[in-house]
């Protein structure tokens, strides 16, 4: 029933091009020109997807993007469990991001772990007028008194902080000294900086570099004996337990994971990472900066990997093993072999139900490409994808390793464009975020949230692949999608027919 599979590549290309033209018609001229650069039909063999990216969103179009604060507090720092993260500014930003990202951790919440608490300075008018530094000073004292087992504190700046001239760095330094060298990290991730969450990732990475790595003693004793097999997982936020279902594979192949960045991570793990022999990087977008820094400063190589779906998992295990000796290489083969029966059973069960189904994606900075392999393992076909906050290097990776010829590409898509694309292409599944979920379900298009795994997960690793397959099946094949039209209202898809 999918339009996309019934046509030749040339036909699809022509149709997608036409679709882009059609969508651009809605805009005022200036906006149409700007948006045209973000939309394209992928051409096989090209080194990137042919779209501009990491550029300011256009006012008033209903961009799906968030802000730098979301990238720092929400993504990079928030999951570090034994530190208190202050949403510094008015109450809103911290409130809306409170507990919603499901960065799983093990700990005694409120006592030695703080991920699902919302600490905020709750700025009032007087703080805006007179500055918030005094308040911050007092907040740090209050945290020390009431949460004495915190191992460190970060200050996540919201918009006003950078506009009223506060010196949070000075406060951090002074208080750190007062508390005998306590780790206190000021982060300048005000929401107006940059064009999306992306700059927030970068700023957060830089804060680790300057305020964590910059302060550890070079010859500090590691709390554990190093081994030649020590690795760090970088850029896995343990959503629904993703980092755990990844870690288990690495350990089964004989590696030792000494740090998780940052899902279920701790300050001690961040500090120990310079001892790793290899940094393995899942979310390139949000943590390539610190990986590059560790390469330069500590000589630690890094390698990207992809733990979505068995094909990519096997590739990745072998790639990671390539950095180590034969024992590890054999370990990788052993792991792949061990899970093969599970993979076979999952594919035998779900592939027949999903074969040939089409998918459109729109996610953050990694998954628009990373999950494609997992869909393909299930026989599904990704016909459109785009990044909320990818850069050109993401589109290069996408073009070179992931998408098929004539895939529709949409960077920083907005509500209007995404609806039109989906309406016209009628995919069997859309994978995007909470703001998109109900729009498409209203249109009777099955949907899965691909940031939060729709409160399911993990999706990483072999254990995760089984869950991924189950979830995609239950979305696509839910009986409700055959019942959305009242039986007494004839034409099944009047809108689509009119559009054709």
């Amino acid at each position: 029933m999918s339009l996309a599979t019934t046509n030749s590549v040339a036909e699809i290309r022509a149709r997608n091009k036409e679709l882009i033209e059609e969508v651009l018609k809605v805009y005022p001229e200036k906006t149409a020109k700007r948006r045209a650069k973000h939309l394209n039909v992928h051409q096989a063999g090209k080194s990137d997807c042919g779209v501009k990216s990491n550029i300011k969103s256009i006012p008033g179009v209903m961009t799906i993007r968030g802000c730098a604060y979301a990238g720092s507090k929400g993504v990079v720092w928030g999951p570090i469990k034994d530190m208190v993260h202050i949403s510094h500014g008015p109450v809103g930003c911290g409130q809306y991001s409170w507990g919603s990202r499901r960065n799983y951790y093990v700990g005694t919440t409120g006592i030695d772990s703080f991920v699902t608490l919302q600490f905020t300075s709750d700025f009032q008018e007087k703080d805006i007028v007179f500055g918030g530094d005094k308040k911050l000073d007092k907040i740090l004292d209050e945290i020390q008194e009431l949460f004495p087992l915190n191992n460190g504190i970060t200050i996540q700046s919201e918009c006003p902080v950078g506009l009223i001239g506060d010196d949070i760095e000075a406060v951090s330094r002074a208080k750190s000294k007062e508390y005998g060298g306590k780790t206190i990290v000021p982060v300048r991730c005000e929401g107006f900086r940059g064009v999306s969450q992306s700059l927030g990732h970068h700023i957060a990475n830089d804060a680790v570099r300057d305020w964590i790595f910059g302060h550890i003693e070079a010859e500090g004793k590691p709390k554990f004996e190093p081994t030649p097999y020590d690795v760090a997982i970088i850029g896995d936020y343990n959503i629904g337990g993703d980092a755990w279902s990844s870690r288990i594979l690495l350990e089964e192949m004989g590696l030792r994971v000494i740090a998780q960045w940052s899902g279920d991570g701790s300050l001690a793990e961040l500090e120990a990472t310079p001892k790793a022999k290899l940094n393995i990087l899942h979310c390139y977008r949000s943590m390539n900066y610190i990986s590059r820094h560790m390469e330069e400063k500590f000589g630690i190589p890094w390698c990207e990997y992809n733990f979505f779906g068995p094909s990519k998992i096997a590739d990745s295990l072998r790639r990671i093993a390539g950095y180590f000796d034969d024992e590890i290489k054999e370990g990788a083969e052993r792991v792949i072999e061990k899970y093969q029966p599970l993979v076979d059973a999952v594919i035998a069960k779900y592939r027949p139900r999903l074969e040939g189904k089409t998918v459109m994606l729109y996610v953050g900075g990694l998954r628009p490409r990373h999950v494609i392999g997992a869909y393909e393992d299930l026989g599904m076909d990704v016909i459109g994808t785009g990044y909320e906050f990818g850069h050109n290097d993401d589109y290069q990776r996408t073009a070179q390793h992931y998408v098929k010829d004539s895939t529709l590409i949409y960077d920083d898509v907005n509500g209007y464009e995404f609806e039109r694309f989906v309406e016209k292409l009628q995919p069997d599944l859309v994978g995007s975020g909470i703001k998109e979920k109900y729009v498409f379900q209203k249109m009777s298009v099955p949907f899965r949230q691909m940031h939060s795994w729709d409160y399911s997960g993990p999706y990483h690793g072999y254990d995760g692949f089984a869950i991924f397959a189950r979830d995609m099946d239950m979305a696509v094949n839910s009986p409700i999608w055959k019942r959305t039209k009242a039986p007494w209202k004839e034409a099944p898809s009047a809108k689509l027919q009119a559009a054709e």
């Binding site: 005022p28 969103s57 109450v91 600490f119 061990k338 109900y438 729009v439 089984a466």
Partner: protein, 518 residues
């Protein structure tokens, strides 16, 4: 290997098996964990009166506050008008958050645009963002009205909405006569309920007072109609529909202002309705002629009501009327103001609520409750508990003020069941945690975030409030009106009975009391 294709285990079960438990235990050595005895000691310490005292001595830090920021309320109010697109001037991240927040609660789309201001706008002001933004929104989403509010960025740099909108119109972003009401909604003043008030007042001011100097002011010609304002309400879908049903039953000519009961409850039938229902712009303008404006939530509408009063209307406000007496007061007021009789149907509905309370009150009577939430909601729930013979013990509202505290205290003083109750304005859920440890209660009423308190203090949580993220569809049923009161009673009773069952279901130990009839 715990995982299998036949029985797929997700996070709820997957990590509990020995493989993962061993892995997590081994991970500990890299975490430099605290001594478990020390963790235990601090955990116990946080339950003490000493900790409570320190906790209540906090002056600067908020931990788990139960309030959101102004623009959220502005967006919520704005979508209650016909084909209205909320436009928030400032950083775009905030808008992503409001939309997510509303969608997570209502399980519905939430449409809203931002002017996407960035660093350069922080330096030069956001005029260009406004001009371009209005033009784009107008063309793309074909709204009938764009309601502008602000994030704290725009407020801190002092952008002037009135002037910006005027200039944008001159530059042709939207037609000169297109409706663009606005409200400044600084996040560092008040909370989402303040934002609701500001936005609604902004919209009424626009229509009644000459559209920012571009049209003649309306002249009020009083008629018999009544305006109703719901206020910021997680149950807006069920509640506004119930109120409209009551008004229709009574035959009262009325306008519900900011009626978002449709847009947050659209059908799934193949069509996405970005706009649905809402107060028509004509009705919003004509609302000036109404005899009276009634607000269901005083603290959501302080400015809006004074504005209506200034225009010569009678104004009246309630505090989230839940239960018998509050609904009585509401219905009687409607009858008094409109001159309409109260139909027998409502008397029967009232009788059914009385009947239900009489049947069940023995189970609620004397039970102690802690309540937190928006100021009006707290008041309404406390009042209902009092009439059930329950004992509200802690009532906490992060966005409640001194006036709220006094009004709450007066309510509690009026009932023998309110004598043991303390009222906490401006406090947060970490304060509530101390209260629940040091002065335990039988039940807690609050939003989804109360589940953390339930886990820590073992106080069973009855979910009433906003947001409710982890239970589905409750917003579709009313909690106002006699029927709504019944719904609240059932929510409370279900939890009470579940608790008795939970306490008595240990085979071989408590086979007694595990009764089939209660």
């Amino acid at each position: 290997m715990p995982q299998s294709a036949e029985h797929v285990l997700d996070h709820v079960e997957l990590f509990r098996g020995p493989e993962y438990q061993q892995m997590l235990a081994k991970k500990k050595i890299f975490e430099n964990p605290r001594d478990p005895a020390e963790v235990e000691r601090i955990k116990e310490w946080t339950k003490t009166a000493e900790y409570r005292e320190k906790n209540f001595a906090r002056e600067a830090l908020a931990v788990n506050p139960a309030k959101a920021c102004q623009p959220l309320g502005a967006v919520f109010a704005s979508v209650g008008f016909e084909r209205t697109l909320p436009f928030v001037h400032g950083s775009q991240g905030c808008v992503a958050y409001y939309r997510s927040h509303l969608s997570r609660h209502f399980k519905e789309p939430s449409s809203c645009v931002s002017s996407s201001m960035t660093e350069d706008a922080a330096v030069f002001g956001g005029l260009n963002n406004m001009t371009d933004g209005l033009a784009n929104s107008y063309k793309m989403y074909k709204p009938k009205m764009i309601a502008v509010s602000t994030t704290c960025m725009a407020e801190v740099i002092g952008d002037d909405l009135n002037a910006f909108i005027k200039t944008s119109k001159e530059k042709g972003s939207v037609p000169a006569d297109f409706d663009v009401p606005f409200a400044h909604t600084p996040a560092f003043v008040g909370s989402h309920v303040t934002g609701y008030d500001n936005a609604l007042k902004g919209i009424l001011e626009h229509f009644w007072d000459g559209k920012a100097g571009t049209a003649p002011k309306l002249e009020r010609k009083p008629n018999g109609a009544i305006n109703i304002i719901g206020g910021f309400d997680g149950y807006t879908v069920g509640n506004l529909r119930e109120i409209k049903r009551i008004l229709e039953l009574m035959g009262i000519q009325h306008t519900v202002l900011a009626d978002n009961s449709e847009v947050f409850d659209t059908p799934t039938d193949g069509e996405f309705r970005m706009y649905d229902g809402g107060t028509t712009l004509k009705d919003a303008a004509n609302a000036i002629h109404a005899k009276a404006t009634i607000s269901m939530q005083q603290w959501c509408t302080e400015k809006t009501l004074s504005f209506a009063a200034e225009h010569g209307q009678d104004v009246l406000s309630f505090n989230y009327p839940v239960g018998l007496s509050a609904t009585d007061d509401f219905i009687v007021a409607l009858s008094r103001i409109s001159g309409k009789e109260i139909p027998e149907q409502l008397a029967r509905e009232r009788g059914r609520l009385v009947d239900a309370i009489a049947d069940s009150s023995a189970h609620v009577h004397g039970k102690k409750f802690a309540i937190y939430g928006d100021p009006d909601l707290c008041y309404g729930l406390a009042a209902f508990l009092l009439e059930l013979g329950a004992e509200p013990t802690h009532v906490l509202s992060t966005n409640g003020n001194k006036a709220w505290q006094e009004k709450m205290q007066a309510l509690l003083a009026s009932s023998p069941f309110g004598q043991g109750c303390q009222v906490y304005p401006g406090r947060d859920l970490w304060h509530m945690r101390s209260l629940l440890f040091t002065e335990p209660v039988d039940f807690l009423i609050g939003n989804t975030y109360g589940k953390y308190l339930e886990r820590d203090t073992a106080t069973p949580l009855i979910r009433i409030g906003f947001p409710i993220f982890d239970r589905h569809h409750h917003h579709r049923s009313p909690i106002w009106g006699y029927q709504g009161g019944l719904n609240v009673l059932v929510k409370i009773l279900d939890k009470i009975f579940d608790e008795i069952d939970n306490k008595t279901n240990i085979l071989g130990k408590t086979d007694y009391s595990f009764d089939i009839i209660r």
